[in-house]
């Protein structure tokens, strides 16, 4: 909705200053993407054409290629198969005995908004001054120097969605980032990725506001809060649409000034229009069911329930609504709504036909999404489910890409997709496997054998300058 409103606003200005005919012609050519006040300035790092061969490849589409090869050219996957010819001048990597996967994707991270070190000044993830804050944007809290971006990259994470916290019913917009070292968040923003809207079920909002004797203090208060917010957004939407109609029918001069922009309602109106994807923190099965009804009532879609520790109780419902469940492998018990968490959750949701994926919600866990998936796979097999590793790889690649609305660009090693690739020292389902190289848009962004390809945050410099070392640089990055 923001797109069309802003477009109309721009047109109205145009109408005032130029000929009506030109402007009217423009009305019929809507902009392809929502205008973004904070556009991405991301530039892929310099990349060489690279052929990785003789590797065991988990494609991210559910298949495995033994002794396979993948060609990265111009930032994209150019070819994949048993045998791929190396173009002249290509860097050829013999990955015999090694494993290759797509770059890992985390749909739920607070890196940058709750960075390391965790101090009051850096805790910028929850705007807990009102239960409904759709107007805030996580990207304005992201500190690109969070050392956690580097450790996540070391763990093979190439794309991640940074979300506001779950203290509010509606916490604000999340932002999808390419995990490259940068000095500004704009330089990390995934070009043209849809925005996410963080919403939260359950105990957190009611605890935050209930403890202040404010609304909401109950689960029923939670649900009433979402509904009223979307009802208000619908009214706002109508107001703008009426004005737009007036502009179209009578011209800008007679239509009068546009309605006042309300950043929060604008965001929710974009959700109603399907341009912003709802990423909803929700633990319990019954709450997820209630939220699916709310979404149905207002005509929007929930892209994914996050945490979803009881998703295994309702896979059929998630399948029916096409809602993904982004889960941990085994977190449970830290609060009442997490009491029924089980290790087979991901596998059971997957077996039930719904879109299942891993997420971290944690600056440590994000470094080992492959291990979390390995645990979830093991638990699924223990439950009697027949799941292959190549299938389970999708839980950390293609399925998170689906949840982000980016499955046509990332998440699998298919020709034309972004060349986000990880080379592992061993099967990534092993606890002993480590990343060796991480490619992002075809560029090496991490190389375990090359210190020049191991980024260090500004924050990590100079903490341990050794007074005994003549060469002071020797003390940098001591850990």
């Amino acid at each position: 909705m923001k797109s069309s409103h802003l477009r109309a606003l721009a047109l109205a200005v145009l109408l005032v200053v130029s000929a009506g005919i030109v402007a009217n012609a423009a009305v019929s050519t809507p902009a392809e993407f929502p205008p973004d006040a904070f556009p991405s300035t991301y530039q892929p790092l310099p990349a060489q054409t690279t052929l990785i061969q003789h590797a065991t490849i988990y494609t991210g589409t559910g298949e495995r290629i033994d002794d396979g090869a993948v060609l990265l050219r111009d930032g994209k996957i150019a070819a994949i198969g048993k045998q791929v010819e190396a173009p002249a001048g290509a860097v050829v990597i013999d990955a015999k005995g090694k494993y290759v996967t797509p770059g890992l994707i985390d749909v739920h991270s607070h890196l940058g908004v709750y960075p390391s070190p965790s101090v009051a000044a850096t805790a910028n993830g929850n705007e807990m001054t009102n239960p409904t804050t759709p107007q805030v944007m996580a990207e304005h809290s992201v500190w690109p120097q969070d050392p956690g971006f580097n450790t996540a990259r070391t763990g093979g994470v190439t794309t991640l969605e940074i979300l506001p916290g779950s203290g509010n019913l509606i916490g604000g917009r999340g932002v999808v980032l390419k995990n490259v070292p940068a000095t500004t968040v704009q330089a990390m923003k995934f070009p043209d990725a849809p925005y996410g809207l963080k919403m939260a079920c359950g105990e957190n909002p009611m605890r935050v506001y209930g403890s202040r004797h404010q609304f909401p203090s109950t689960l029923m208060g939670d649900v009433a809060g979402y509904r009223q917010a979307f009802a208000d957004a619908q009214a706002y939407d109508r107001e703008w649409k009426a004005w737009e109609a007036k502009v179209k029918a009578k011209g800008a001069a007679e239509a009068g000034p546009p309605p006042k922009r309300d950043l929060g309602k604008e965001t929710l109106a974009e959700v109603l229009d399907g341009n912003i994807r709802v990423q909803m923190h929700c633990y319990r099965a019954d709450e997820m069911a209630a939220l699916l009804d709310v979404a149905h009532e207002f005509g929007f879609k929930i892209a994914a329930f996050h945490h979803a520790v009881e998703a295994y109780k309702i896979p059929q419902l998630l399948k029916k609504t096409g809602t993904c469940a982004a889960m941990w492998a085994d977190w449970w018990g830290f609060k009442m709504e997490a009491w029924d968490g089980i290790r087979a959750n991901i596998a059971m949701v997957d077996a039930g036909g719904a879109c299942a994926l891993i997420h971290s919600d944690d600056e440590n866990g994000i470094q080992r999404l492959n291990q979390e998936v390995a645990k979830a796979l093991a638990a699924g097999r223990r439950a009697g489910l027949d799941i292959s590793k190549e299938h389970a790889v999708m839980w950390m690649t293609l399925n998170p890409a689906k949840a982000l609305g980016l499955a046509d660009r990332i998440g699998s090693l298919e020709p034309g997709k972004d060349a986000d690739v990880v080379i592992w020292s061993a099967d990534p389902f092993s606890v002993y496997a480590r990343t060796e190289k991480v490619f992002l848009d075809g560029a090496v962004v991490f190389d375990r054998d090359d210190p020049q390809r191991q980024s260090t945050s500004d924050f990590m410099l100079g903490n341990f300058v050794d007074p005994h070392a003549v060469d002071a640089a020797a003390g940098e990055g001591a850990p």
Binding site: F334, E363, L377
Partner: protein, 452 residues
């Protein structure tokens, strides 16, 4: 029992403590301490497995572990198996001692955010050092089966620091396999915090925290030396309550270790100075920057309880965090054990250990850090930590490498008791798996809707 003792103490304000053992906290009777469960009456012969004894016998291929009366009766390749023994074939599998969690909240925290189920700290109470988790421990906690079926057989249950006391109180070592006789050793260690959290509790500075701890120890020493003078009001006023001073006695005498939570290298060094001054048996918990002072720790024979997955500068006191902490400490000769800080998922300590191996720790040392070193650190290695004759039979049969993510505990024994391999989580799983298999909307246990 402690409450009874406390009530008696309160009723008996005029009495001399010397005359009444009932109000001495260290003389109280716990129903179970020292009274270990002696198996389940059966004899078990675990045969054919690759046995990592972690003792002098090392690794035994195709070994037999004989379990009788709660203890290990024999280990080796040539063990006479009694006719009445239940044989368990562990061919192709790995047999190890059980995992010993050196810092947990088993039985004193059920649901993290439900305060009624939390007994891990008493920050608002008058007590600090005297606070003892033993009387609060619930051996029927749902967390216990969840973790014991993953191989965790024994644990230090430790208090977490309250918001007022830098001395959190005393921990107890429990066996995760019984509801009676589960306390293996009460008052097994004293827990305190320095560093950032100690500073916060002491009024805003590390220096104040150190002063508070020194004052407590000095007072306790004075009290121990002049108990009867104290009883007749002949001593100066102490900062701590009488029960706290009494509780610190065994710490001062070196009988009970003091576990100090510190992360920063300089804070670890300050703790080492404190231990030297008072001749304390010190254990470092946390120790993110312990590798930076590894030689000092090794020289002082001070062990470290650490989480090998900590690698971010999450706090200013952990700027030196690294995945190589465990490997570097081990190499320097420091005894390490793994504490993940997450009791609900204490089972994930095998994953943490595996990562320590991926970052340089020898595999066998990782196994020892999980199973043997906690026993050594707390002085329990006469009883547990290895698969050797006479030890309590905490035995785990693993499907494969215990540190590998695809492995699982096939069968667990705790003090000779064969543990049912179920938990609330396996029950929830099976209930909903059955529903899925039978294509039912609701799992068994619910009333099924009548067929249309």
């Amino acid at each position: 029992m402690k409450y009874l003792a406390m009530i008696l103490a309160m009723l008996c304000v005029a009495c001399s403590p010397a005359d009444h053992s009932a109000d001495r906290t260290d003389a109280r009777s716990t129903a179970s301490a020292g009274n270990h469960a002696a198996g389940d009456g059966k004899v078990y012969a675990i045969t054919g497995g690759t046995v990592y004894t972690l003792g002098a016998a090392g690794k035994i291929e195709h070994g037999t572990v004989l379990v009788k009366d709660g203890r290990i009766a024999a280990v080796g390749t040539d063990v006479d198996i009694p006719a009445d023994a239940e044989r368990i074939d562990a061919t192709g599998k790995i047999v190890t001692p059980g995992i010993f969690d050196p810092e947990s909240q088993f039985g004193i925290v059920e649901v993290g955010a439900v305060k009624e189920t939390r007994d891990a700290s008493a920050g608002d109470s008058r007590f600090s050092a005297a606070f003892d988790v033993a009387d609060a421990i619930n051996p029927r906690s749902v967390l216990i089966p969840v973790n014991r079926i993953a191989g965790v057989t024994r644990a230090m249950v430790s208090p977490t620091g309250g918001d007022k006391h830098i001395i959190a109180g005393r921990g107890a070592i429990i066996d995760l396999g019984s509801t009676e006789g589960f306390i293996h050793r009460d008052a097994a260690a004293m827990f305190a915090a320095l560093g950032e959290s100690g500073a916060e509790q002491a009024g805003g500075s590390r220096a104040a925290a150190m002063l508070a701890l020194r004052e407590a120890l000095q007072d306790a020493k004075d009290y121990a030396d002049n108990t009867s003078a104290y009883a007749s009001n002949q001593r100066r006023k102490y900062a701590l309550t009488r029960l706290d001073l009494e509780a610190l006695g065994p710490v001062l005498s070196g009988r009970e270790p003091l576990v100090v939570h510190v992360e920063r290298a300089s804070d670890i060094e300050a703790a080492l100075r404190l231990a030297r001054d008072f001749k304390l048996k010190l254990i470092i918990s946390g120790g993110a920057e312990a590798w930076m002072v590894a030689d000092e720790l090794a020289a002082a024979h001070v062990p470290v309880l650490l989480n090998p997955l900590e690698d971010l500068p999450a706090h200013f006191e952990t700027l030196g965090s690294t995945l190589e902490n465990a490997a570097r400490l081990q190499k320097a000769g420091v005894t390490i054990a793994f504490a993940t800080g997450d009791t609900h998922n204490a089972r994930n300590v095998t994953q943490a250990a595996g990562n320590a191996v991926a970052n340089g720790l020898p595999w066998l040392d990782a196994l020892k850090a999980l199973m043997l070193n906690p026993a050594r650190i707390y002085g329990m290695d006469k009883d547990v930590g290895t698969l050797e004759q006479g030890k309590l039979a905490d035995v785990v049969i693993w499907s494969a490498d215990p540190l590998e993510l695809s492995s699982f505990a096939d069968q667990v024994f705790i003090a000779g008791r064969k543990i049912p391999m179920v938990s609330r989580q396996t029950m929830l799983r099976d209930r909903y798996m059955q529903a899925m298999r039978e294509k039912q909307a609701l799992p068994p246990g619910y009333i099924m809707p009548a067929a249309q």
